[in-house]
Symmetry: C2
Subunit: 700 residues, 2 copies
């Protein structure tokens, strides 16, 4: 097992173990004792002989046996000294609880660097510093200073916030929810989220990994790890700092660089991490994934003793795009015979306000048997005639006989400590307070079933491209210290990527313009070429549909005059003479480089509409063919490309091809910062596209 | 007070009072006794002498005194007989608990009609049938068969679902949440949601009205009542049956007609009802509105002892468009001096993991004093050093000294029964489990503050229109039994509404076409006129930019030939010769008549984009000027009209004018079912618009 020293140590030293009960060092030792840790436990405290009945040592070097994990809770200044001793003693891992490192800036950052250097020197891994500790309930090990000691269970949780971690442990403890592992990441000076995700993938107790993150240090590693792990078990992430204000708070909080929310969303999508949008959703999801099987399809049957909550559940299922099928005819007849005449045997199945446990039992039996139903939501509202205790028992029984179908409960208006809720939970049937929550949860479970079932696409097909040519163009621009490529350079790169372009050349004078137009063939478009002009059309820098030589020459002067009047300082490199291409559906294909996750593809509605409609989709590069197709299908532009009002469909395959080529280029050439084709004019099926305009920037 | 017989009766008869404890009739009597009802209480049961120590009567006619309210819980068949007796005895109101009426269809519907007739005859009002009863905690009256007896408080709740009602009462009871009134509507054969909303507006105990509805019987009355009430106190509605499946379930459930979700949203918006999208949101909102003052602005300060939850709250506030201001410089300095150096004095204010009650107290004091802060969110995560009990006391103290600023709590990871949570709640500080929920709640409270502050617009300004002309056109079409108006008729109506149109006339032959074109002036557009052709352009039925007489004549024949080939059966009424209008920004202005709420205005991006972008906004008619403006501003089309990429802005005022004119026409002429101008071409500021196409349908 990876990170065995942290997750499954045979021996732990608590450095800074204290006799004073309110001290963190005392708390950690007590948690280890209370949790029933089976390995050897060494409190380290030069001033004490024993604490909590355990013999103390003056330093880790005095410990007689091997120490796998040292939990360090001493003042920050002393941590490097203690770590050095750990290294010399052959300690395999250190969990540094102490605060006062990079999160405080200045000297703290320097101290953290020293600490990392010591760990590297001794090939010793480090969790933290500035963290809450680590819990592995399967191993009866609570090496944290959290107030609560969770029961063993199937949920593992990794948190970049200690406060959130302690909240989650408390919540689990309050509600008898079992945990496999809990890891507080702290400053991640050495071990990062990805390291623990990777280790927990191999942990048999862990059925689901919950993740609270504010930022990622090494995006590429995070992606590579998550891509593998999500194929084995679900990973649910709550990403904080999604808005501008949030991001500000992050950077003043942990000093970690919060990536743009769009890049995170794209990364999560790429590696199949399910994203919770609130802490509550995170709780709801880990609970279900930890306890229930993954559904085989999207069809849910709702059973209820109250119409209103049944409708709320149905509405919410519909919003999650789940199916609400009717039962098979025979099963419906069975139900009809067993239930009173006014009961509804459709979906939701309404057992009526006076339903007893037998009606519930019968409906559950039928629903779990049905081949049309992939999962069941059972709702109970408090009614005088409905014995919630007995219904809970019946639900548990049904679950035992049909363990392979997800079964989620909404027993409403009951206390968390009541018999029904406790009974359901104990038997791996999570109960939700609100009908809408359970629909959301089922929707996420269905999404994960699709992930498990989707083919594993390892590498994208390599597309033909003239990489040498691209390299040359980029090198030339860099040599000149230019960040924006000229239109000619952009065209060269696009051609080298085998992206089709209209014939075009830049004319430096009137005569050249006429000659180029002659070569290309009429009609042509004329566009000003200037590194200083962004919106050429607005300044009169573009003239369409030029049909004869004389016009070309006249327009050449006309454009120059207009531009010189509008922007006297603009550098003018000439006028582009471009083949006039037919009208078509206008889309945009672009890419930017994210500092954490690398190149990010964008697709959407193009032309002037991109600016205000923001009808765009994103994916991390390299984009696979099916991802490229999804990108198109996610946007409203897709409806336009399929054909509005009975128009023939556009050539979507050729759009996908352009996305793949841009993606490959961005992936191969790290110096390209941005690439944008807008508009890309798409024609009817089989007729391809034209790139009307292309723009590229590179790094300095 | 309205509906005094129901909300504040001096005497109650329970007809069908039973000695058997599991019977509904027993339960109601016991609830009345247990709740401490102070008025006279008459159990009616011909077979019993006394029940629960109260003297029984054989029939309501035998009761010695007046009976204000009779609660009826006898089999459906007997209800009309009992109601007749109530009428004869001068009973003022009946609450019919019994089921078996219109909700079961067939005979039940007939029985309900009889029952209503009896009530009308005696001028007696009825709640139900098929309901849970009524609770007025202020009056110590629980005339329901709910299992729980709520404490007196400030929340009133009206429910179309009995099951949901009992759930909510249980929830309130579990969590010590006080209720003013609870009303179960049942089938609403007589009294409807609007009647109770109206009555509760005058109830001094009620600070907020929660509403669960699936449909509304009388849309107009609902709107008129709600419009008044929401100016006095907030009304929060949860509308079920929002999706197609939901609506199906509604119609099989209560038989009420679920209106389209869009019309409901527009109705809620018009009358300032706040819409909860889940049951959880409804709970969260009534809790806050019931306990807290309305904020004076949108600026929130977050105080926390844990970074992560603080960031989550900040993110969520940002998403709700709330402000997160920094404190005044002096207050920030005060905080800096009082808090440890690593604490964050920005917003969120991070008191750090070892914060005690004094740090909380200090930060609260400063925040509540600050003129820049309109409300405070105080977050507490479980930490060894943070005494939650003492912090709760400090929060309560601060609240007492600054009662006018909303203060919401997020004490995390604690049990509902714990001292801090109970203490906060008892002192009108609702606690929320998750930081995101509290941001949502604050956002809704701020929205309501805007409602209270907005000017009361009573009637829209009357716009000039030739109503006689419209009446004539509509009468003519109805006489012919036509549902679709011809283009000429539509143009007449639009002109009578003073909507500007390009010059246009229908030509019946080639010669006429040429003459009309001459009159209008070149260039012209030619369009086929046929009641059978929806998409004229697709069939070649439209030719733009015709410049000379010869072309007009040639195109006349050309269009006819094309249409006859494409649709040989299409009736052709001629060809419209229309002034060719300049290009502009294309929007759509339309209206449809909703069966429950009357005419519904629509505005959005026009032309071919309307079909796939669905960038539209809605309002109920009559639309006020500011509503019309809001309609425009809510869409993405607004960005287009303001000017994309530095274009000059379009004439938004003239769009508002068209919306108002269509709204007025739809309001005045109930026979118009649909009216659509698409596209409406909008020009630069001051230059108005052109209505390129207009279409109208009327009722049969």
């Amino acid at each position: 097992m990876k990170l065995e020293a942290f997750l499954n140590p045979k021996s732990i030293a608590v450095i800074g173990a204290s006799r004073e009960t309110e001290k963190v060092g005392h708390r950690i030792l007590r948690n280890l004792v209370d949790s029933g840790f089976q390995g050897r436990l060494y409190p380290i405290n030069p001033k004490a002989a024993e604490i909590l009945g355990r013999k103390c040592y003056g330093s880790v070097r005095e410990v007689p046996g091997n120490v796998d994990l040292a939990v360090i809770a001493v003042p920050a200044q002393i941590v490097p000294i203690v770590a050095e001793e750990c290294g010399m003693s052959g300690v395999r891992g250190v969990t540094v609880i102490s605060a006062g490192f990079s999160e405080t800036g200045g000297d703290g950052t320097q101290l953290e660097r020293e600490l990392v250097a010591i760990c590297r020197k001794y090939n010793m891994r480090m969790q933290g510093p500035n963290c809450l500790g680590i819990v592995n309930a399967g191993n009866f090990m609570n090496a944290s200073f959290a107030a609560a000691n969770p029961l063993p269970g199937s949920i593992s949780f990794i948190s970049q916030s200690g406060a959130l971690g302690s909240t989650i442990l408390n919540w689990a403890f309050q509600n008898d929810i079992g945990f496999a592992s809990f890891i507080s990441l702290g400053n991640e000076a050495d071990l990062e989220a990805a390291d623990f995700v990777e280790a927990l993938a191999e942990d048999e107790m862990t059925r689901v990994i919950g993740l609270y993150i504010e930022g990622v240090k090494n995006g590429e590693r995070f992606i590579n790890v998550a891509e593998e792990v999500t194929r084995k078990k679900p990973v649910i992430a709550l990403k904080a700092g999604t808005t501008d204000v949030g991001i500000r708070a992050v950077s003043s909080h942990t000093g970690s660089l919060a990536g743009s929310d769009i890049a995170f969303s794209a990364a999560f999508k790429k590696v199949n991490i399910l994203r919770a949008s609130t802490l509550e959703e995170l709780f709801h999801l880990v609970l279900a994934f930890g306890a229930q099987p993954i559904p085989k399809g999207k069809n849910v049957l709702v059973i209820t003793n109250g119409g209103g909550p049944g409708i709320l559940a149905a509405d919410a299922c519909e919003k999650m795009n789940l199916g609400l099928p009717a039962l098979e005819f025979e099963l419906m007849e069975k139900l009809r015979n067993a239930l009173p005449p006014h009961a509804s045997i459709h979906n939701p199945v309404d057992l009526l306000g006076d339903a007893d446990e037998n009606r519930y039992g019968f409906a559950l039996e039928v629903a779990l048997q049905s081949g049309k139903v992939d999962g069941v939501i059972v709702i109970l509202t408090p009614q005088a005639m409905t014995p919630a205790d007995k219904v809970a028992d019946i639900v548990v029984e049904a679950k035992k006989r049909f363990p392979d179908k997800p079964l989620l409960a909404v027993f409403m208006g009951l206390d968390d400590d009541s018999y029904p809720i406790k009974t359901l939970l104990k038997n791996n049937i999570p109960n939700y307070v609100f009908p809408e929550s359970v629909a959301y949860v089922f929707g996420a479970m269905y999404d994960y079933s699709l992930i498990l079932g989707s083919p594993w696409v390892d590498v994208s097909k390599i597309l033909e491209a003239d990489d040498e040519e691209i390299k040359e163009v980029l090198a030339e621009a860099r040599k000149d210290g230019r960040v924006n490529l000229t239109i000619e350079e952009s065209i060269k790169v696009a051609k080298a990527c085998r992206i089709r372009l209209p014939h075009a050349m830049v004319a430096r004078n009137r005569k050249e313009a006429a000659e180029i137009a002659q070569t290309i063939g009429y009609p042509v478009v004329m566009k000003i070429v200037s590194p200083d002009i962004l919106h050429k059309t607005d300044l009169g820098g573009v003239i369409l549909n030029v049909n004869i030589r004389k016009e070309v020459e006249r327009n050449y002067e006309l454009i120059l005059r207009k531009i010189r009047m509008a922007m006297p300082e603009a550098r003018i490199l000439g006028i582009l003479i471009q083949q006039m291409v037919p009208l078509g559906k206008e889309v945009i294909v672009g890419a930017v480089r994210d500092p954490q996750f690398g190149p990010l593809m964008m697709f959407g509605l193009g032309g002037i509409y991109v600016n205000f409609l923001r009808d765009v989709s994103y994916r991390l590069c390299p984009v696979t063919k099916s991802e490229a197709r999804e990108m198109v299908e996610e946007t409203k532009a897709y409806a336009l490309l399929r054909g509005v009002r009975g128009e023939p469909p556009s050539d979507i395959n050729s759009v996908v091809d352009v996305i793949l080529r841009v993606s490959q280029t961005m992936t191969r050439f790290k110096e390209i910062v941005e690439m944008e084709i807008n508009p890309l004019r798409v024609y009817g099926e089989g007729n391809g596209y034209s790139t009307v305009d292309i723009r590229m920037t590179i790094s300095k």
